[in-house]
């Protein structure tokens, strides 16, 4: 069997999912580490180090995700597009609701980390819904 389009093989054997998972875990650990350093009331230099600590991991994560997205075939690109098209308005709605609940003192939490979780979970749900149409 000849393979006129060898990129398909390369795409399927890509290590991207593992890279994404490893970098996401590393970014999460860096984020937690950064929070812990901030809690110790460090000096200026250490504080700035804590602030930028997660950024290299997040930048690497974005680069790996972008590369993986370019290797997707057309149906999976469509699924990603539909998932993101659903995620943006749904996350916005949920975050507006979160803000309203905060203003009304029903939700006392005041942590940006909750919005990261809301966006991630919304994306996962929207991806599941989009993918279900094609499987």
């Amino acid at each position: 069997v000849t393979h006129p389009f060898p990129t398909a093989l390369a795409c399927r054997r890509s290590a991207a999912p593992w890279s994404i998972l490893v970098l996401a875990i590393a970014a999460g650990i860096a984020m937690i580490g950064s929070r812990l350093i901030m809690k110790t009331a460090p000096g200026d230099a250490l504080l700035w180090l804590a602030i930028i600590l997660p950024l290299p991991f997040l930048a690497a994560l974005i680069a790996v995700i972008s590369r993986a997205a370019r290797n997707l075939d057309e149906m999976y690109r469509r699924i990603q597009f539909e998932a993101l098209a659903l995620t943006v308005p749904t996350s916005a709605l949920l975050l507006v609701l979160y803000g309203q609940l905060q203003k009304a003192d029903i939700l006392p939490l005041d942590d940006m980390a909750l919005s990261y979780a809301v966006i991630s979970l919304t994306y996962a749900s929207c991806y599941f819904l989009a993918a279900r149409r094609y499987h």
Binding site: A8, Y76, R133, H135
Partner: protein, 72 residues
Amino acid sequence: MNNRLKVLRAERDWSQADLAERLGVSRQTINAIETGKYDPSLPLAFKIARLFTQPIEQIFTDGPSTRNGEHP
């Protein structure tokens, strides 16, 4: 849109994975096209036509999808 992809593939005794490899897409994409859940782009449709050496209109026909991969 309906298509004869499953029939053409069966005539050549190719699996979905074989066809996917030849077209540079995933096996899931081939399955979705065959079952009428996904309509391929024009470049992919032309690639399919070239692979099966048939005019594109003999593989893909207009009309509501049967959603079971069978040509009406």
